[in-house]
Amino acid sequence: MYLKQSSGRWSWYRVGVVCRKEWSEIYHNRRVLLSTVLLPLILVVIGTSGQWGVSLMSSADFVNEPPPSLGVGRFEGLDVREQFQASLALQFLTLFLLIPLLIPISTATYSVVGEKRDRTLEPLLASPLRTEELLVGKAVASLTPGLLVAVTAYVVYAGLSSLVIDNARVFSYVLGPIPLLVMGVLAPLLGLLGVGLALLISSRSTDPRAAEQITSVLVLPLMGVFVAQVLGLVQIAPWSVVVSAVVLAVVDALLFVVATHVFKRGEILTRWR
């Protein structure tokens, strides 16, 4: 058998092999596949319906003292209906962040716990694959479907919303600098956070659902932001997105350092049970 020369150095090719294997497994796992499709579908339907419902109303339909969730008074130069549409757009932007967070959590937990349950890790670790290559392969494979689906779903939502939003300034809250910053920077960082924690928690769990549920606690801060938005306490602005991105990047980096220390070959085999 002819083996190509290798010095045991880091290989992106092997990372790619792991990635493709993971994607094949996700594709053949109906439960994970369903969870990948269901949440984006629900958000697109609700988001578009919400914008469509508001577009059918006139400013006169709104009560004299609107609740803070309508966002009235926060967007100067827009009438009441348009302000509500803009506010709704920013609230849904937060909800769309659930996709890159939850889907990678689901795929990562199944990827790790599934390997443990089927005892497929040992042969993999006995191959020339390095532990970091395995982890990066799994992380990238878990992250990408969630990100891809999130972006696709958001593009569909924005496309449908463009049919019911007349004002270009209002539409910029659906597809403009803030949404691009959120989906382009915040979404991948949130996804990485979900994957990192899912890998860590899954390494101590034998039940994928339990691991998934524990990791899903990550949703709470995001839901907190959503509730604060509804209550009019916070508003998504470029500066808040940048600050959040910096904090997330630091947390992700720390998580990576912890993960590389925790995932030792011997640990994986003797503790991943």
Partner: protein, 360 residues
């Protein structure tokens, strides 16, 4: 000629010219049989360990907290041979295998496998893993993926020049080529095991570790696997086999190690027999001849250690059967015995194995 290694303290050891020549010779002509040197006795690693395809370990230990799983293990397995590690459940066989395969870091000791020192750095392990094949206790296949794709992933991880060709060869070898497109979940236990064996030998490694290779197989499939192991030996590969199947070990292994936390006994089946039991010869008598009546006629003969009469036969413990057997036979016939059978008693490996374990 057995070379003399000077066991000097410190990192430097004197090496004689004859040794250097021997080392050069060994590294150039791998297939040539060279008298075995007991490295344990000299506490010196093999001269040609960088080119060897055997397995060598010294003082290998593994502790999990207070639990000592493997204790001071010395191994010296020749390239191209089959070594069977026998031991009860929980004896530490799988842990030993994992240490040698670089999957678990030993608490103490060192090992050289397939010419590569087992060092727990990712880069070195990656090199080691290109030179070994491992069949784990459970097949560990990705159930949702096809048999072929399972192997393709490993072929690519090994960076084989022709992954598709290697997978086809391996699948044909284990008789699963026609089932290659089926998902592993649909394959029988035996087929999965055969697939796992195909994965272990896919990259044609010089050293193969097999943990219970026939445990899930029906007799026909087990025979095929045994044939495959013979073939691996024939190709000059070194095989370390962990098994409970004593018959399999006796049939396949050149050397056997009885293991429970530490190596209790090691050697060929014949060597183990000789170490565990004194040689015995058996005389079976024609009924109604009474063996006990003839016992006094042989008890006093030189070389006889023990005489036991039972079930129509005399079992006589001797020092050297070749020397004593003709004399005993002559004495018994002169005593009027009517003999049906005369021969050396051959102890089964099971008897030897149980004896070694009980002796501990």
């Amino acid at each position: 000629m057995v070379p003399t290694l000077l066991n000097q303290p410190g990192p430097f050891r004197k090496v004689s010219i004859s040794q250097m020549l021997l080392s050069f010779y060994q590294s150039r002509i791998q297939s040539h049989k060279i008298p075995k040197v007991s490295r344990q006795a000299y506490n010196v690693p093999r001269m040609n360990e960088k080119t060897s395809t055997g397995i060598w370990a010294q003082g290998l230990e593994k502790r999990f907290g207070d639990n000592q799983v493997v204790q001071s293990l010395d191994l010296d397995i020749d390239e191209g041979s089959v070594y069977a590690l026998l031991g009860p459940n929980g004896a530490g066989k799988t842990t030993t295998l994992r240490m040698l395969a670089g999957l678990i870091e030993p608490s103490a000791g060192r090992a050289v496998v397939a010419g590569v020192e087992v060092v727990h750095h990712e880069r070195e392990l990656s090199v080691l893993h290109r030179r070994i094949g491992l069949l784990t206790e459970t097949p560990g296949m990705w159930d949702r993926l096809s048999a072929r794709y399972n192997l393709i992933v490993h072929a690519r991880l090994h960076n084989l020049a022709d992954p598709d060709g290697a997978v086809e060869t391996a699948l044909r070898l284990v008789g699963l080529w026609n089932r290659r497109l089926e998902v592993v979940a649909k394959l029988s236990k035996g087929m999965r095991q055969r697939l796992a064996i195909a994965r272990a030998i896919l990259h044609e490694p010089p050293v193969v570790f097999l943990d219970e290779p026939t445990s899930a197989l029906d007799p026909e499939a087990a025979a095929d696997v045994r044939e495959l192991i013979e073939q691996l030996r024939g190709e000059g590969r070194t095989v370390l086999l962990c098994t409970h199947n004593l018959d399999e070990a006796e049939r396949l292994a050149d050397q056997i190690g009885v293991f429970r936390q530490r190596l209790l006994a090691s050697g060929s089946v014949e060597e183990l027999r000789r170490a565990a039991f004194s040689p015995e010869v058996v005389f079976r008598f024609r009924s109604p001849d009474d063996p006990a009546a003839h016992a006094p006629s042989v008890r006093a003969l030189p070389g006889v250690e023990d005489v036991v009469a039972s079930n129509g036969s005399l079992t006589i413990g001797v020092q050297n059967p070749n020397d004593v057997l003709p004399r005993l036979t002559r004495a018994l016939i002169e005593d009027g015995a009517e003999l049906l059978f005369v021969g050396e008693r051959v102890r089964s490996l099971e008897e030897v194995y149980l004896h070694v374990l009980e002796a501990e």
